[in-house]
Symmetry: C2
Subunit: 157 residues, 2 copies
Amino acid sequence: MSDLKIVIEPGRQDIVMTRTFDAPREVVFRAMTDPELLPKWWGLRDTETLVDRYEARPGGSWRIVERDKEGQEYAFHGVIHGIKAPEGFTATFEFEGMPGHVLLETHTLEEVDGRTRYTSVSVFQSVEDRDGMAASGMEDGAGQSMDQLDELIRTLV
Amino acid sequence: MSDLKIVIEPGRQDIVMTRTFDAPREVVFRAMTDPELLPKWWGLRDTETLVDRYEARPGGSWRIVERDKEGQEYAFHGVIHGIKAPEGFTATFEFEGMPGHVLLETHTLEEVDGRTRYTSVSVFQSVEDRDGMAASGMEDGAGQSMDQLDELIRTLV
């Protein structure tokens, strides 16, 4: 049962997401940052996810492409500011369909009673950018990704 | 005469800074991103600035050290998300004395009647982080840096 919570407070520039996974954080960290595992959960259920590159190190770059059933591609990229296993990582994120709108994402994993509490804080360059992301169906998309991540993690423990 | 303006609105997660320079933006862009020129303006007037690395390209990394008169060093680092001459760049920023507190800075240069309008938007992971930066003497420090940048630019045109 998902305890996913997405907080989008009026007037703020961030989106805060939390969810618990029933696995040690080493496993969650690996599922979240291993380029071989990313396609198994990143993105929507009915799209194919291709990892162009994912350099899971400070200063690394990443680029991920989602391809829908009609073959339309949606690409995203950024840089990894900092990453430390199994605590989490901080990276930038840009949807190539909306160039120039960049966010900073901080992903934190805490172990609580053998389970992992995941928190992501995404900060946007403006409230308008934040509200645009919220209006784009991001909550539904993030829910699908988190469910797929949960399913993947269950196969890794 | 400096028209520096720093906007820190209560409750927001950003600091917005604007200033005009009396030079074409190619010159301002070069002064802001050339590792040879950075030590001439970055940081406070009475500190020495050392560029450990500054890779002015998308995916590049940067690290700058300020050394005060007593020899105490203050280091800062980040990654360059995107950069396009002479329009501007987007990069992360972290003070190594406060690890884990990262900001995303977007620097934009616009040419207006042969002069350059510079805007920087810094977004923080929380309002508390933003307020901490504002309380740290950042406004005075940024003013000194901008004045030094202006003096440098006058020697380049």
